[in-house]
């Protein structure tokens, strides 16, 4: 019963605005599920560097409670033993659950809207151990919050977002706090502004960045474990009605991380598959 309650609480809390279905694959975006909509995501997310590779695969689900509030959960499984910095933009091995609230939603004309979405969630260490500097660390749960704002239209998309994750301490160990940010530009060429019963394509340029604090081990900060990096790369989103496939890659444009600790992280990539199930149920019936 306790486990069930914990799971329900986890569902009721918020997850970071992890990229999925309608938006970019790396950066933060504003779309949320419509009321009654169930979305399921499955993806492969990889990071490669001179000290190894880390690949995560996972399944995420979302449910639209209202037109502007979505509950989400993401359960990844990670492979590889790359000694890579703490990361929140790309999914790692942590389980997350939470909710997103689109608190600003201004519809300006046909196909255009300006909106802002805030997310809050819990991040729980998964059953797999971390690698690199984080291996052997006692792990505790954390809290993650994100905020994204943007503009969507039939031709162009612009999103800006940021997030902060803070972990609790466990046995005098603590994973680093992470500040992350992103800027995304998307474009759909005129020839692809077609009917909804045809494949809908759009391309994104995604800029993401992160700053992680130092890793605390046995009560002291491990030297040279704080990092800052900025990544840039393209991604493409293809949607047919309620199925979406998205892929992208990023390379570093700025990196301030100890090579002795983390090596040189060179590439990030992501492939995501989404299935959206919309609700045909209508709350009011017959006589209006």
């Amino acid at each position: 019963m306790k486990i069930l309650l914990v799971m329900l609480c986890a569902w009721a809390l918020a997850a970071p605005a992890m990229a999925s279905d309608h938006g970019p694959v790396f950066g933060y975006a504003t779309p949320v599920n419509s009321q009654g909509e169930v979305s399921c995501d499955a993806g492969i997310f990889g990071r490669g560097g001179t000290l190894g590779t880390q690949v995560s695969t996972g399944t995420g689900c979302g449910y639209g409670v209202t037109p502007h509030i979505t509950l989400t959960a993401f359960l990844p499984v990670s492979f590889g033993s790359g000694a890579l910095p703490e990361n929140r933009v790309m999914p790692g091995g942590e389980w997350t659950a939470g909710a997103s609230w689109r608190f600003l939603h201004s519809v300006t004309s046909v196909g255009k809207r300006i909106e802002s979405t805030a997310s809050l969630g819990v991040v729980v260490p998964g059953p797999q151990t971390d690698s690199g500097i984080l291996a052997g660390q006692h792990r505790a749960a954390g809290v993650a919050g994100t905020l994204a704002s943007g503009y969507a239209s039939r031709s162009q998309y612009v999103w800006f977002g940021g997030g902060y994750t803070r972990f609790a301490e466990a046995a005098r160990d603590r994973r680093p706090d992470t500040i992350s940010w992103s800027a995304v530009y998307g474009y759909r060429p005129p020839k692809l502004r077609r009917g909804y019963d045809q494949w809908d394509y759009r391309g994104f340029a995604e800029l993401t960045g992160e700053h992680t604090g130092g890793v605390r081990s046995n009560g002291t900060i491990v030297p040279n474990t704080s990092t800052t990096s900025v990544w840039l790369g393209p991604s493409v989103l293809a949607i047919f009605k309620n199925i979406a496939i998205e892929g992208g890659a990023q390379a570093p444009v700025y990196r301030d991380a100890s090579e002795a600790v983390y090596g040189r992280e060179k590439v990030r990539f992501a492939i995501n598959f989404s299935y959206l199930r919309f609700s045909g149920h209508n709350s009011s019936h017959g006589k209006g």
Binding site: D21, H22, V32, S34, Q35, G36, E37, P67, H68, R102, H105, V107, T108, S109, V110, G111, K112, R113, A152, S153, R154, Y157, R193, R194, G195, Y196, Q198, W199, D200, R202, I239, F240, K241, N242, A244, L276, F278, S279, G280, H281, N282, S283, S284, H285, G286, K287, G288
Partner: protein, 165 residues
């Protein structure tokens, strides 16, 4: 027993006559849809309304065209709800609707058959003989202006009004 059956048949026949098409077609302009899932969501929601026959969504114009079956009891509120639950905004709606004309010749009111929808008719063309249609079942083509979220406009701008066959 035979009498009861006859009454049941008569009642069924009478109900069949009353339950003619009310909303025949609704062309609703929707703001905010930018992509295929938006349109698909609207399509699924509209098809979930009992009596909706076909739904067509044009993403570039934002126009949602809904055609209904003759025996539907759908209300305008349901169409608006289907838009709102997907996070979009409904604007003007071009409708073809059937109902009983009540009120007065100066202030005619359309009571949509089978629903509680009721619209004050405005902008009726000067040539229309509204007085002769009072108390009759009419078919009206007109425009419902945008209403606030959760509401349905209470006036219908008439394009044409004819006695229903």
């Amino acid at each position: 027993m035979i009498m009861k059956r006859l009454l049941a048949v008569a009642a069924f026949a009478l109900f069949g006559v009353v339950a003619q098409a009310q909303y025949a077609q609704v062309n609703l302009t929707v703001f905010g849809m930018d992509c295929a899932p938006c349109a698909h969501a609207i399509h699924v929601s509209m098809k979930g309304i009992q009596g909706v026959n076909t739904v067509d969504v044009d993403l570039n114009t934002g126009l949602v065209t809904i055609k209904l079956t003759p025996d539907n009891k759908a209300s305008m509120r349901q169409f608006n709800d289907a838009v709102e639950k997907n996070g979009f905004t409904h604007k003007d709606a071009d409708i073809i609707v059937r109902g009983k004309l009540t009120g007065t010749a100066a202030a005619p009111v359309l009571e949509v058959t089978g629903t509680t929808d009721r619209f004050a008719l405005v902008s009726v063309a000067a040539g229309s003989d509204v007085a002769s249609l009072l108390g009759k079942t009419v078919t009206v083509a007109g425009v419902l202006p945008q209403a606030p979220k959760g509401k349905v406009a209470d006036t219908l701008k008439v394009k044409s009004i004819t006695e229903a066959r």
